[in-house]
């Protein structure tokens, strides 16, 4: 909105967009408030819920940093995927709880984005059973991956390893972040924060957790499992 107030007001209003203020904020203000209110990284993946539709069409946004981020290193990752394409498609069909799954190389990271039904641990166990050799090929190219290889004999470690690289999913309702940050800080529930500090809560969480998934995502057919969709559309399973 046009501001017809004095020069000082206009100057302050323009500060959030100014490079110098943002530089100072990132160098001084954010570290100060992070020291004042230590904020821990919130766990990735969907949060536990007993409600039916919260346990189907769940998102996994797995972001894994490549050891070798050169074009050669990224090409190696792309080739592992290409070599295992048949195994992946066949395996995911067998898992049967997957709505979609895809792999992307974004900058220095190889990512797996998928939507699945049911429990996260069982989802990963199913993957190890069906496309474990593919995962071994990918994880070997990822930082800190060697500790969970081969995945077939490091099942629980691999589940934890994947969970640690699954993106934090920001709440559907933004003000819920207050409670999530407090929980991660180990504070008892129920504290009411000043509403306008919500922006600071986001900044502090994003400082320790640079990647996040925004909200629960759109669903064209919410409330239905992959198996129900296949059955209703006459595709079997």
């Amino acid at each position: 909105m046009a501001n017809d107030s004095g020069w000082l007001a206009r100057f302050v209003d323009a500060l959030p967009e100014s490079k110098i203020f943002n530089l100072l904020a990132n160098w001084i203000l954010v570290p100060y408030w992070a020291w004042r209110y230590p904020t821990k990284k919130i766990e990735g993946g969907p949060r536990p819920s007993t409600q039916p539709s919260d346990n189907i069409q769940r998102m996994m946004n797995l972001v894994m940093k490549l050891k070798d981020t050169s074009p050669i290193g990224r090409a190696k990752a792309a080739l592992v995927l290409a070599q295992h394409a048949t195994e992946i498609f066949s395996g995911v069909d067998d898992v049967a709880t997957v709505h979609f799954a895809r792999f992307d190389i974004i900058g220095d990271y190889i990512c797996m984005f998928s939507v699945y039904d049911g429990d996260f641990s069982n989802y990963i166990r199913d993957f190890i059973c069906t496309i474990g050799s593919f995962f071994d090929g990918i994880v070997a190219l990822v930082e800190d991956g060697e500790q969970v290889l081969p995945t077939q004999t490091h099942v629980e470690e691999f589940i934890d390893w994947v969970h640690a690289r699954d993106l934090f999913q920001a709440p559907d309702f933004t003000t819920d972040l207050f409670a999530l940050n407090d929980e991660a800080r180990g504070l008892p529930p129920g504290k009411v924060h000043p509403l306008r500090t919500l922006s600071r809560e986001f900044i502090l969480q994003l400082r320790v957790n640079p990647n996040l998934s925004l909200g629960g995502g759109y669903r064209a057919y919410p409330g239905f499992t992959s198996a129900q969709i296949r059955q209703k559309t006459g595709m079997g399973w």
């Binding site: 909105m1 004095g6 302050v12 539709s53 306008r196």
Partner: protein, 344 residues
């Protein structure tokens, strides 16, 4: 007066803001009425036996769009909640209403807390935060208070934020309301009927649901960096309807165990099962707006067989609040399809 009447009286008095007129609604004072039709989707009858969902005929409708403020002066371009009250005209002169607004949650869960909220969110002189105060906000990584609109003399926003600072359940509605903006058209906003209702299917199955109107033209707000225009929404509708009807889709979200049907201050998560219940087409703006719009008395309790109210205390108080407000402004009484929640 019994306790509920006293509470209704207090609520209606607390809603009065500078610029209110006794012959207008205390909130959503400025509005425009339209007429059109509703056609149920082929799926609707599988979920609800209500007459307008049977799909055996086109149902005539009257809709009133409104600005949320109680002031009689139009400020279309100000950031504000908008209303969409829909009356479905059923057979034999019966009717059922669906009251919706652009805010997806009510400010508080109970009438008593709403009165507390109104008493704190009393309009106060609108003045921008001082530059030094804003600077201090920025140093704390906080959003500065929004500047008042040009010409805005009083505002409830600082009080609403003060209340939300100490009441967790009001934080989401206030945060959403503070950034709600102004639609470029009444036909380009989503309207949520925030209360849950229990619908009855042809097999007798009862489901808790929430309804919302989705604009076929899509959602679009004005540019918040531009100086707001005071009057454009009525003319925009006239211009739009001269070209084409305004259309909405009625969506129904189905609640599941754990979704509270009695708390309208908390939306249900967006990934609940949704069903398209029908299409609304608005094609006429009656010339006599007083008769066909302003005198009309909508009421969220004007229900029909197949749709039942929840125990949401806000929904319950609205029955009396709407009735009393209608009487005070000389509105046309609405013929209730069922008796009042307290037996009146």
């Amino acid at each position: 007066m019994d306790n509920q009447d006293i509470l209704v009286d207090k609520l209606l008095k607390a809603l009065i803001v500078p610029g209110c007129q006794p012959d207008l609604r205390p909130v959503h004072a400025i509005g425009i009425g339209l007429t059109g039709s509703f056609v149920a989707s082929p799926l609707a009858r599988d979920y609800c036996i209500a007459e307008h969902f049977r799909g055996d005929r086109t149902v005539d409708v009257t809709v009133r769009f409104s600005n949320g403020a109680g002031s009689a002066v139009e400020h279309d371009g100000w950031s504000d909640v908008r209303g969409m009250a829909t009356r479905f005209h059923l057979a034999d002169g019966a009717a059922t209403d669906l009251i919706a607004m652009t805010l997806p949650a009510f400010f508080t869960p109970t009438p008593e807390t709403f009165l507390d909220f109104l008493n704190v969110a009393t309009p106060e002189p609108a003045k921008p935060e001082s530059p030094w105060r804003k600077f201090l906000d920025l140093l704390q990584l906080m959003q500065p208070m929004p500047d008042p609109n040009p010409g805005e003399t009083v505002t409830p926003i600082p009080g609403a934020i003060r209340y939300a600072d100490t009441h967790a359940r009001t934080q989401l509605p206030v945060a959403l309301a503070a950034g709600i903006g102004a639609p470029v058209s009444y036909a380009r906003a989503t309207y949520e009927a925030v209360h849950a209702f229990r619908i009855i299917g042809p097999d007798g199955e009862r489901r808790w649901v929430r309804f919302s109107w989705r604009p076929v033209a899509g959602v679009l707000n004005t540019d918040p960096t531009k100086t707001p225009v005071d009057k454009y929404l009525f003319q925009e509708l006239h211009d739009r309807l001269a070209r084409e009807p305004a259309r909405f889709t009625l969506m129904m979200m189905i609640g599941e165990p754990g979704d509270d049907p009695t708390d309208s201050s908390r939306p249900w998560p967006p990934h609940r099962e949704r069903v398209i219940m029908g299409d609304l087409t608005l094609d006429k703006i009656p010339e006599d707006q007083v008769m066909y719009c302003e005198k009309l008395s909508f009421n969220p309790w004007l229900l029909t067989d197949g749709i039942e109210p929840s125990d949401d205390p806000i929904l319950h108080i609205r029955h009396e609040a709407y009735k009393t407000s209608s009487e005070r402004r000389g509105g046309t009484p609405c013929p209730f399809a069922r008796s009042a929640p307290n037996g009146k």
